[in-house]
Symmetry: C2
Subunit: 101 residues, 2 copies
DNA sequence: TGACTATATGCGCTTAAACGCATAGGCGGT
DNA sequence: ACCGCCTATGCGTTTAAGCGCATATAGTCA
């Protein structure tokens, strides 16, 4: 349960959920790209990605001056299932359209 | 997305998630029963159920001196899907066993 | 080396959540 | 009417989250 709580907490922030939606396609994105799309300041974005990383949801990779984040490919099936459902629900919600586009 | 955020927030508390797991079978339970199972004080349990109700996840019904809560039967499919995944993941997690049993 | 870009982090502030305690209110039984 | 059980809620306190600002760190290129 602790794991689930941690997961729910990680996803209960608009910036973090937005980042997850962006990364849901499996591709990687640098912090600056995420900032742009999510309309976040640098420190805010960095910290939120740190939270997602800490929660094990994403992994990062240094690439020259950039740090590229992507969904953790090694997530347990139960976590994947939750994320899939959440992404589907959020994507269907109109609020996110402007930010994803 | 706001809806999803609200849902994630509602589920990111051990007492609330525990209550949801208990109610996942569709049956109703009074606050005192929930208190027992989840090891919560009265005011804490009542307030948490209030949060779940506010989030639209549960509905309540007065029955004599008791207030019986049950899962909201009218949840949108996307929300149901999330809950189902969450319940499955949490039930599989060993931490909850002692509390559910 | 120095300038520039990208990212992380220390610090202080503000706000919201959660809690316990006490109390109010609804309901049934005597 | 009174008492006892169940639930909700006002209040004050504590704790944690999120933020911006400034600064540190890492890498690139000239």
């Amino acid at each position: 349960m602790n794991t689930v709580i941690a997961l729910m907490s990680a996803l209960s922030d608009p910036t973090r959920l937005g980042a997850l939606l962006l990364l849901a396609d499996g591709k990687e994105r640098c912090v600056c790209k995420l900032m742009e799309h999510l309309n976040a300041t640098q420190s805010r974005m960095s910290r939120h990605m740190g939270v997602l990383k800490q929660a094990g949801l994403v992994v990062d990779r240094r690439d020259a001056q950039w740090v590229r984040y992507r969904l953790n490919p090694a997530l347990p099936p139960s976590t994947k299932a939750i994320i899939k459902a959440v992404v589907a629900a959020a994507a269907a919600s109109e609020d996110i359209e402007g930010k994803v586009a």
